[in-house]
């Protein structure tokens, strides 16, 4: 049986994986069609401010009378975009760093590992916060900061896999056959790294969503009138006694998206890493605190 066929049969056996993939498709689909399924415009004032849920407004209205459900739906897109951009920044910088570090070693490796040490010396959210404080509060700067903070996740992982892979016989063979460094890194080492990066991508995405919502909650990320979930959480918490569904629904949305991507990471690990013997719950996912 080929590797893909084996993966596919494992997928069928695993109902949870299917549920996760459906949930992922649902979230992405919702982000894609957000404006057309939202009952009202995300910025339109459609009713009296701070109303409790009613048939016309399922989650009530916010501080100036916008429909909470509509803003929540449109906010899906901001959340996914922030997660994607931040994680891509971390991948695009971290993966080449790890490859070069692990492959060439010596001075280059030492220099890059010191940068990694420096990044890891800070509690992640504090470093992201400090960067946003310096660069100015905006969604773009938040995405950049979260991306930079997450570089070590990828550089360290890729470096470790590269170090292990470069000792293997087929890599030695590729070199003996006259392959240059670029060829060896691209054709012999990278394929080994790629599946691990996929798994880590999903977990880093979850952390990015968590951190973006946190920073926006603190007033350092997306700015009003953006329907960012973190921002809605902050504004909603000041109106807990009048419409608790405002803050609670935004919080539930963050939780569900993070849950989907955390479970996706676990699923990908089971699918793509045939060497791992999975004992239930033995390998804790690498999400950071939030």
């Amino acid at each position: 049986m080929s590797r893909w066929a084996r993966s596919l049969s494992r997928l069928r056996r695993n109902v949870l994986s299917l549920v996760v993939i459906f949930a992922l498709a649902g979230v992405v689909g919702l982000a894609a069609v957000a404006e057309s399924v939202a009952p009202y415009g995300p910025f339109a004032v459609v009713a009296a401010p701070v109303q409790r849920p009613s048939p016309a407004h399922w989650l009530g209205t916010d501080e100036i009378g916008r429909d909470v459900l509509s803003r929540l739906v449109v906010g899906t897109r901001i959340t996914l975009m922030a997660g994607l951009v931040a994680t891509l920044i971390a991948v695009v910088i971290g993966v080449p760093m790890g490859l070069v570090s692990g492959y060439y070693g010596r001075g280059l490796d030492a220099a890059m590992m010191r940068i990694t040490d420096g990044l890891l010396a800070f509690p992640p959210i504090i470093l992201a916060m400090a960067m946003v404080a310096v660069l100015g509060a905006s969604l773009t700067n938040t995405m950049i900061a979260i991306g930079i903070v997450q570089i070590p996740r990828f550089s360290r992982l890729v470096r470790a896999v590269t170090l292990a892979t470069k000792q293997l016989e087929y890599v030695q063979a590729a070199r003996a056959l006259g392959g240059d460094d670029l060829h060896i890194i691209r054709r012999a080492i990278f394929p080994n790294v790629a599946s691990m990066v996929f798994v880590q991508f999903s977990l880093a995405f979850a952390t990015a969503v968590l951190t973006e919502a946190g920073l926006s909650f603190l007033g350092l990320g997306a700015q009003p009138p953006s329907p960012s979930w973190g921002l809605m959480l902050d504004l909603g918490r000041k109106l807990l006694s009048k419409n608790p569904f405002y803050a609670l629904s935004a919080g539930a949305a963050v939780f569900l998206v993070v849950l989907v991507f955390t479970l996706l990471g676990d699923t990908l690990r089971d699918l793509l890493d045939p060497f791992q013997t999975t004992r239930p719950g033995s390998a804790p996912a690498l999400t950071s605190s939030g």
Partner: protein, 316 residues
């Protein structure tokens, strides 16, 4: 524990602290705009701006500024905040740090007292209802932001059933009972989320130990199950767990930022946010430095304590 091991860890800790201090220095030098103008306002008279720049040392070359920064840190002079009425920065930062540590410690206590029994039971009865339950709880805990749980706690215990005050802070000297009441909801929110993470480690660590030869030997010499677990398995499982607690405690110090905002708990994170919003960059800079230093020091202590508890480590 060998002196060499301690010296090695201390040296490494010192090196990381230096990297942190350097990173913070350069990070806060790339601020777009002039810190003096931000403090006084952009329409301030040029003489006043020049005077403040001189006072903040901004008129000197970068390497002189950097040397001054390191020198002052080494003799524990955190400076005065030009942006906050010339108050000593240490007087702002340290009381906040203690309040953060107070909240973090209590949260960790909540987490440990849930995680240890839950993780142990799950490991001793793999596949049982307790194990399944632990699995669901930990999966939820991994994805639950503490601030969301905090808001849920506020809705339930301050709004729906008004058992506790909603958010705020009272110094313990003023009203100890109220002080503790304000602590309960944030500590429980952070503690529950942390418990989920730690329970997973406890379970994995315990499973690991239970498969060791010495546990089999203990059974073979006829010890009852509870005694094997209490005397042979648990102490060894706790070892790995302590490292995890330490690392997570370090992360908690930073991770408190958002929860402190939810409960308006005036800790280090809260100070950082307030200072950022007030553009008091000299305070933010020191607060970030202290937060990172606390993180580094906690990690150092974890390394050292691990050497004390497990002498094998220190000789590797």
């Amino acid at each position: 524990m060998s002196a060499r091991f301690v010296a090695q860890r201390l040296l490494h800790g010192g090196l990381v602290l230096w990297i942190v201090a350097t990173a913070v220095f350069f990070l806060f030098r790339v601020i777009p705009g002039d810190p003096a103008a931000m403090t006084l306002g952009f329409d301030a008279p040029p003489e006043a701006l020049a005077a403040l720049r001189a006072e903040m040392g901004l008129d000197k070359p970068l390497h002189v500024q950097y040397a001054t920064w390191l020198f002052n840190l080494m003799r524990w002079d955190l400076g005065r905040s030009a942006t906050s009425g010339n108050a000593p920065v240490a007087g702002l930062v340290f009381p906040s740090l203690w309040r953060t540590l107070e909240l973090a410690s209590l949260s960790m206590l909540v987490a440990i007292s849930i995680a240890v029994p839950l993780g142990m039971l799950a490991a001793l009865r793999v596949g049982s209802t307790v194990d399944q339950l632990a699995r669901v709880v930990t999966t939820i805990g991994f994805s639950m932001p503490t601030y969301v749980l905090g808001i849920v706690a506020l809705v339930v215990f301050a709004e729906m059933i008004p058992l506790l005050p909603s958010a705020g802070y009272v110094p313990p000297a003023e009203d100890l009972v109220l002080h503790i009441k304000y602590l309960i909801l944030p500590a429980a929110s952070v503690g529950l989320v942390m418990a989920a993470r730690l329970a997973r480690f406890m379970r994995a660590g315990m499973l690991d130990v239970l498969s060791q030869d010495y546990v089999r030997t203990a059974y073979a010499k006829g010890l009852p199950g509870w005694r094997v677990n209490a005397r042979h398995a648990l102490p060894n499982a706790i070892l790995a767990f302590v490292t995890e607690v330490g690392v997570n405690f370090g992360l908690l110090i930073g991770g408190m930022v958002v929860i402190e905002q939810v409960f308006t708990w005036p800790g280090l994170g809260w100070l950082m946010i307030q200072s950022t919003l007030n553009r008091a960059y000299d305070v933010v800079q020191i607060a970030v430095l202290i937060s990172a230093a606390a993180f580094v020091i906690v990690n150092l202590l974890v390394d050292l304590s691990y050497g004390v508890m497990d002498p094998r480590i220190a000789y590797e």
